[in-house]
Symmetry: C2
Subunit: 447 residues, 2 copies
């Protein structure tokens, strides 16, 4: 969704002031996550694609300008300026799927300050939400070991748009598919699904329901077995399959309640006894990385985990401590001193080397053997390249996570990756802070 | 957003099976929240309006049918049936803003089973998310006592759509306005905003920034004072106002970091000394109902709370344990027995009386002195009345919450409102459960 009013009122108010005063000098804003949530050692960058679409199409429609004139009493000169306004800036960003750590810019915008300010809300929104969810999903996928994980979250994500974004983010993070059909269509993600309890209940009994489903979908028969009694359901599923096309005709069974570890062992035993060792066991019901890790550790014979709500809203960390901060304006670095929220000044680059990451000023040379994480993604308001295939972001994510040490990937109280500031960035920050503090003290002594 | 594929794949698979088998008998599904999150004593129903829009416009576009044919191998007869499919059902629902408790249907759909199944995902999505957020917002509004609360969440909601829904839900729940301009325009909510730290930093110093803002917006000057030093910022704001139009010209100041309680007391003192007792103090920065309640209890002289992320994602309860369950099909009640997820059969009504709520079968007479919570909202797939004004939902919410006892509204470990099942509903449930269990036992003894 795009539109000039998809922003906070203060962005428009400030933009009006900047435009009126001819303050069109380039500003650089840096978007980063200050501190990671307690049980996160890394983040998976996600949401860039929606940011680029938003910036490229940013403009004010007539009804939006009418609203600003009639309800917000914007003056004619400002409205004329807004009518012409487009996003014309340069943007560098970390590509989707890349692993990043706290304090590292995910994206930097350099643009006339009014433009840079107006897109703040949407940029923060997309990157905060999608990075939180991609990170949660990566944890689930990793916890499942060799088992596959699929996205079942659509019914309880925070909105329909959110459901589409979650399916995409979780696929980047390593999920094998999604139940969300529109997301599957739009992004080319494998669509997956089984049946609901209501299907079983709509027939006179479970056996009749299983027979109908097996007849209608002989090539993808996954039967939900826990509507009345789980192991009874497994036996009914086996009987139905044997009566239909034999042992190979049952693709899978799904367990959705009870003790998934114990039930999967018992179900596996029944299936193997019936010569159905290729029938997969799908488990679902309130799962997240913590419960999946327990099942994996216990050796539960589960082939596919359907993960829903807790991943889809990133339940234990539904937001990130993200910020979009002015770091340079009209060629001078800036920073704020607000308690607990001080920023580091200047346009930046992050260099990743074997010793960890270094956040540096953008014009510093790369340390030997390191590579820059931020790449140019937009110039003069236009993308520099088309959207990359989702599989490329997905491969990047898998490769990045594979390089992380266990102390960073562990689920509980991990360490975060090593991040240092370059000596020049530290010096710039210290000098500017000293200058600002001395000004504050001068003002205090006048008060 | 609407579209036939905004659903889970299994809904489409099951629908295909129902259509193929001519299973067009009416099904009733009941949507309710099983258990409330730990610190919730009540819920504020929200999201109905989006559900109605979704159901009214539900259909398959050509590109969607193409996807089902090419990627999901749906057969021609099913595709023809889906092409013609519209939602033609009857819906009753609890109006937005109404207080409800666990187990009480928020919405019931009666429709041919394929239609009722296909809209499940979107109905659950809208009602779960928006009810969670409206409930969180109601808690924040109540915690603020006489102070006003405004929505600052847009930058960190779970998507752009989510931001629009949060602004609307929080307004229904008692917020006074939103920073989200598009939501304000679309729903007629008051738009509110101040300035960002970047505005202060874009000028040579704080005083120059305050002067510019005061000149540009003389009728709505709220100055952000904590960029460098909060009390220094308050003094600068006062000086700027006195130099401009005198004490009345400063609408407000905003505190966004540090000890908001102590700083608000000191800021109030400085403002009052300068004869600026009408200047309002706005506080923001990581607030939720718990921190607002502490500030209120401490008597912090804060006039307006800007509440962002924690409300916008309902941080401590980002989802609800919602369910959409088949309760009747082809005129017989149904239920499932799944461990921990058993349902109560039959189409229902909730009657609210002075002794609490009674969940009854829909055709039972109302207990004396009670009123039904579910009202008809859709007949034959069409709304029975136009969308109600947002202020009516808002008034309903305020009135409902006012009737709740303190043990239900308290923020920590509240009791939930009294909800009983009618004797007839209990009897129907017990009889059906006994019948299903005896069938399960018969099957077990055969196994």
């Amino acid at each position: 969704m795009t539109g000039g009013l998809l922003t906070d009122l203060y962005e428009l108010t400030m933009a009006a002031s900047y435009l009126r005063r001819g303050m069109t000098g380039p500003a650089t804003f840096s978007l980063f996550v200050r501190d990671l949530p307690p049980d996160r050692g890394y983040l998976v960058a996600c949401g860039l694609e929606d940011c680029l679409t938003f910036m490229e199409s940013y403009r004010f429609a007539k009804k939006e300008l009418d609203y600003l004139r009639e309800e917000q009493r914007f003056d004619p000169a400002t409205l004329r300026a807004l009518e012409k306004l487009r996003f014309t800036g340069d943007v560098s960003a970390v590509p989707e799927g890349r692993v990043v750590f706290s304090g590292e810019p995910l994206l930097e915008v350099t643009a006339p300050i009014a433009e840079a300010q107006l897109v703040e809300t949407a940029l923060l929104n997309h990157l905060t939400f999608q990075t939180a969810v991609a990170t949660k999903a990566a944890r689930c996928a990793r916890a499942a070991g060799a088992a596959r994980v699929i996205d079942f979250s659509f019914r309880r994500t925070q909105g329909i748009d959110a459901g589409l974004a979650v399916a995409r983010a979780s696929y980047i993070a390593g999920f094998a598919g999604t139940s969300n059909v529109e997301a599957a269509r739009r992004h080319g993600i494998p669509a997956v699904g089984t049946m609901a309890h209501s299907f079983v209940e709509a027939f006179p009994d479970e056996e009749a329901a299983f027979e109908a489903f097996t007849a209608d979908f002989p090539d993808r028969t996954t039967l939900l077995v826990d509507t009345y009694d789980t192991l009874g359901g497994v036996r009914t599923a086996i009987r139905t399959a044997l009566r239909a096309d034999g042992p190979g005709s049952l693709t899978g069974i799904r367990l959705d309640s009870g003790d998934l570890g114990a039930l999967s062992v018992q179900a596996r035993h029944l299936l193997d006894e019936a010569d159905m060792s290729s029938t997969r066991i799908v488990a679902s019901g309130g799962l997240d990385e913590y419960s999946i890790a327990e099942l994996t550790a216990a050796g539960a014979p589960i082939d596919v985990y359907g993960v829903g709500t807790k991943m889809g809203v990133s339940a234990d960390a539904p937001s990130l401590d993200s910020a979009y901060k002015l770091v340079a304006f009209a060629d001078r670095p800036v920073m704020k001193l607000s308690t607990g929220k001080a920023t580091a000044p200047g346009a930046k680059q992050v260099y990743r080397g074997t010793e960890g990451d270094v956040i540096a000023l953008r014009d510093e040379p790369a340390p030997g053997g390191s590579r820059p994480l931020l790449v140019p993604v937009m110039r003069n308001g236009r993308r520099v390249s088309p959207a990359e295939p989702l599989t490329r972001s997905r491969d990047r994510c898998a490769a990045d996570i594979n390089t992380l040490p266990a102390r960073v990937t562990r689920l509980r109280r991990p360490e975060t990756g090593a991040v240092a500031l370059s000596p020049r960035l530290e010096q710039t920050r210290d000098e500017l802070r000293a200058e600002l503090l001395s000004r504050v003290h001068r003002l205090r002594s006048h008060a």
